[in-house]
């Protein structure tokens, strides 16, 4: 019997042509817990998170996401998962408010201005919500990615290099979001340094294949 929210990886592997990125990853991440994959550059952390998020298919094994005991299909994953990752681009021509409105509408959520303002305020972009992203610093762009990942209150939050480009205040914001998420569901993160997030309940060390 699956837990209400759970992420299960069974013998997961990914290769690009003949190049193996990782293989044989088996782990079960239960509700209200956190998971950290760490390793040097090229060890496959970003690919692993992309596989869990459904952006990249695994070439071996299986990834299953449960929410409320139900297996998530592609549409369910879009609604129940939030992702912060360097691979996710932003539109330089759009404002933060427009990004957030789009992210909610295409996922089937309704959005009102007050809720959008509250989310943007939480990540420290309240005063810049109507500026085009082209005018943002990399740290502000990272904050906007947090807003986009948490606005729909996902049960599973996936964070690739969660503290990159953030100032100390931004790191504090990210840690607060991660702590809150662990109380609501699951946090899965990847980092180069294990020490970046010592609170993780489960840790997986990756090495270049």
């Amino acid at each position: 019997m699956a837990a209400p929210t759970q992420v299960v990886l069974e013998g997961v592997g990914r290769s690009y042509g003949r190049r193996l990125v990782f293989r044989g990853i088996t782990v079960s991440i239960p509700d209200r817990s956190s998971f950290l994959a760490w390793g040097p550059n090229g060890s496959g952390k970003t690919t692993l998170l992309a596989v869990i998020s459904g952006l990249v298919a695994c070439t071996q094994g299986r990834v299953t996401l449960y929410v409320d005991g139900h297996i998530l299909d592609a549409a369910g994953r879009r609604r129940q998962l939030g992702l912060v990752s360097p691979i996710l681009g932003l539109y330089p021509q759009l404002t933060a408010e427009e990004h957030l409105e789009l992210a909610l509408k295409v996922r089937g959520f309704s959005s009102d201005r007050a809720a959008l303002r509250a989310v943007l305020g939480r990540v420290g972009l309240g005063r810049r919500q109507r500026d085009p992203v082209a005018e943002y610093s990399t740290g502000m762009a990272q904050r906007l990615k947090y807003a986009l990942a948490i606005a729909h209150e996902p049960r599973i939050l996936v964070l690739d290099e969660p503290f990159s480009n953030l100032d100390p205040e931004g790191v504090g914001m990210a840690r607060a979001i991660m702590d809150e998420q662990v109380r609501r569901g699951i946090v899965i993160a990847a980092a180069c340094d294990r020490g970046e997030w010592a609170d993780a309940h489960t840790v997986l060390s990756l090495a270049p294949a």
């Binding site: 691979i87 539109y91 021509q93 409105e101 309704s110 809720a115 939480r122 085009p132 209150e153």
Partner: protein
Amino acid sequence: MRIPSCRSRPLEAAAALFIKDLRVEFRSLMSWGLLAASAAGITIATSFAFGGILPDPLTAAALLWIIVLLVAMTGLPQTFVREQEQGTAWTVRLWADPAPVLAAKLGLNFLLLLGLAALVVSLYGLLFNLPLAAPAALAGSVLGGCAALAGSGTLLAAIAAGTGARGLLLPLLAIPLQLPSLAAAVQSTAMAITGEGGATLRAALVLLAAQTAVSGLMSFMLFRYIWDEG
């Protein structure tokens, strides 16, 4: 910070993505401006070549659609190429089902082609003193031709955008596949210029509508595989 609960709304998702695509395109006016300038430049050069005298209606209609097609080959892939280059293709894949993404791109490309065709037809009118025997039929031909070209061209643009040889691949794929639509559009436009051919004109417009429907349906069936593998 409470976002209300959700339900599946593919039409609203497509509308939101279409508005996003419009905003991105209009705020990057450079690409639209270049396409419009190319269309205008080719049309003006054509008028000089013919000494400002309209060739026979069939040749005039063929030139009009060749100009639209040539410029469309440059313009159609832009929206997918931009998503790839900005990394936003991953973002959209994370958020949206493929069908609303395609619907939005189809809508945008139809508008783009319609704008280009309207520009070329207007310039034709000015430069050649284009006689308009059947303006409604001309409007139908332009609408039908643009819809048919957008219907197949958008899927092909998505395929081409994911490759390194996009500049070569799109014309190679699109021109043979779009020849039937192009021929129907040329025929109906020529008849709209002369005001002839009631039943023949209707048959050409029906053919354009059928080709739009078939290419649109095929696009929705195949896009998921192209987009998810992208």
